[in-house]
């Protein structure tokens, strides 16, 4: 799951360093901006066949790959 999420984020942002360091803070380092965020949610919904409601999600979840993976597991 985490690897798939990393792949999606790298595809969207080109931030390849995520492969070596998956604990990097995605918001702090501005890897996810509002537009990448839009594309990320759409991609996650398509890939994992889930529905994500951003208002139902703690914004801090978007900081890390691990937390995003937990979120998807939880919805599935």
């Amino acid at each position: 799951m985490e690897e798939k999420i990393i792949e999606i984020i790298i595809n969207l942002t080109g931030f390849t360093e995520l492969k070596e360091n998956k604990d990097i803070d995605l918001l702090e380092n501005e890897i996810l901006d509002s537009l990448a965020f839009l594309e990320l949610i759409t991609a996650l919904e398509e890939k994992f066949n889930v529905e994500i409601q951003p208002t139902q999600v703690n914004p801090n979840i978007w900081r890390s790959v691990e937390k995003i993976a937990e979120l998807i597991e939880g919805i599935k």
């Binding site: 969207l12 080109g14 509002s34 990448a36 965020f37 839009l38 529905e51 409601q53």
Partner: protein
């Protein structure tokens, strides 16, 4: 003209809300007091009526200062706090103001001035129709921002037109854009002339969905001025619907291409909504064409940007500046009341030309006209639209080149299947023996250009070349 209307409305001293930001509201009565105090301060302290810089982020003093400057006959230059200091300095150097509100007149000072309870009224409007109303700076291809000079006549014509197409009266208008982006001109002035409440969404609420949605719900807004990117973001959450915003009846879109998916999603969430698409460069005062949509769009045709306002003409021309046949693609040329006074200083005057004996603006946009309606196609140069902002890729490149460890750079817009820019990537080649990470480069660059312009950085060792010996941008993006 609009300043007469605005002053008349302010003088009624209504207790109705005029401005709301972060749960704090100001009435028209309070706004009038703020404007009067700043107006008299400006007349006293800026006798030569030099242009006034107004710096900050959507605070009430910004709007009050804009109105006060105009009534006092002074041009104002709005600068948002998100713009990095070095770029602000470049702007201030070009403008050479005596007063910069939020800078040499500190925020504390301006609040002290505008809150003075014993204030004198305003009896004279000093701005003349041909005077410059505001100067808005946009991305310039050389790496230095360029200021577009918009006259009082330009703005008056724009707001009259917007009043007619939106028909808003005593409502609540949502603001998305910061004031240094000319999208905000529509909500800044429509709210005043229609005696509406101007409801501000501040930048720090932007990525916090709960906060934005709470604000949208609280606003009770019936009108919104937005970029398609912003509304796409809101649409991500299913609760962006008529339950959240029961009174929302019109969205005015501008700033970038509006897609059918956005329109159709909106109709699935809001039963009875009017969508207005519009088009126009900053050089032609916010917008010059509009197109009203009242229902789902199912045909294959692109969404038009619409019909021109009545005091403007649009021509589609070829390289020799001859009008092309209807339906054929060419460059969009604009003449008429919306064409601004050109750029500050003497940069790139070549896009302001004489056409058929009148002042005209060559947009650099390609489009076509079908059944009297304008369609936008794409840019003819390296200018792009990203999140509604207009960005010259060469502006980014020139600023990256200023970093002394960079050897070569090329900035490329990465587009999705709808031809919408999803991110900007700058491929860089470092000078020899330099050890910098991509994040470090981005960090250095953020001190030079606004955040929305900052590209993703990709360090490469060489650029692939195409058959013509030029850098193959497509191949670079593929490898990326």
């Amino acid at each position: 003209m609009i300043l007469d209307d605005i002053l008349k409305i302010l003088k009624k001293r209504l207790s109705d809300k005029a401005y709301t930001l972060d749960n704090e509201s100001y009435s028209y009565k309070q706004l009038y007091k703020f404007v009067c105090n700043i107006y008299h301060f400006l007349l006293k302290e800026n006798k030569e009526k030099r242009p006034v810089v107004v710096y900050g982020h959507k605070e009430i003093y910004m709007k009050a200062s804009f109105i006060a400057c105009s009534l006092a006959g002074m041009t104002y230059i709005p600068i948002d706090e998100s713009i990095p200091n070095s770029r602000v300095e470049q702007i201030i150097k070009q403008v050479n103001p005596l007063l910069s509100i939020g800078k040499n007149i500190s925020k504390e000072k301006i609040y002290e001035i505008m809150n003075e309870e014993n204030y004198s009224e305003i009896h004279n409007i000093y701005l003349k129709p041909d005077d410059i109303y505001y100067i808005i700076f946009t991305s310039g291809s050389t790496g230095v921002p360029k200021g577009v000079k918009v006259t009082y006549k330009n703005l008056d014509s724009c707001i009259e037109w917007l009043k007619n197409i939106t028909k808003i009266d005593k409502g609540v208008i949502i603001n998305q854009a910061n004031f240094s982006f000319d999208l905000s001109v529509a909500d800044l002035y429509l709210s005043l002339v229609s005696q509406s409440e101007h409801f501000i969404i501040s930048n720090d609420t932007m990525l916090d969905f709960n906060k934005i949605f709470e604000q949208l719900n609280k606003s009770n807004a019936n009108f919104m001025v937005a970029t398609p990117s912003f509304v796409d973001l809101l649409l991500l959450d299913k609760s962006f619907n008529s339950k959240l915003m029961p009174n929302l009846h019109t969205i005015l879109f501008c700033g970038e291409k509006l897609l059918k998916t956005t329109v159709n999603k909106l109709y699935s969430r809001f039963n009875d909504i009017k969508i207005i698409n519009s088009y126009g460069p900053t050089e032609c005062t916010f917008a010059v064409t509009s197109y009203e949509i009242n229902n789902y769009m199912d045909n294959d045709e692109n969404i038009p940007v619409g019909v021109t306002k009545k005091d403007v003409n649009i021509y589609i021309i070829d390289e020799n500046r001859n009008v092309v046949e209807e339906g054929k693609i060419g460059e969009i040329l604009i003449t008429g009341e919306s064409v601004s006074d050109g750029y500050l200083g003497d940069i790139q005057k070549s896009s302001f030309i004489q056409y058929d004996g009148v002042k005209a603006y060559l947009t650099g946009d390609l489009g076509y006209i079908k059944n009297g309606v304008l369609y936008y196609k794409e840019r003819k140069d390296k200018q792009i639209k990203f999140k509604g902002y207009r960005i010259e890729l060469t502006d980014i490149e020139n600023n990256i080149r200023k970093l002394n460890y960079i050897d070569k750079v090329i900035a490329v817009a990465n587009k999705n299947k709808d031809n919408k820019v999803i991110n900007i990537v700058a491929f860089v080649i470092l000078k020899e023996n330099i050890n910098k990470s991509e994040l470090e480069i981005r960090y250095d660059l953020k001190k030079k250009i606004p955040e929305y312009m900052c590209p993703k950085i990709k360090i490469v060792s060489s650029f692939p070349l195409n058959n013509n010996g030029k850098c193959d941008e497509k191949k670079l993006l593929e490898e990326f």
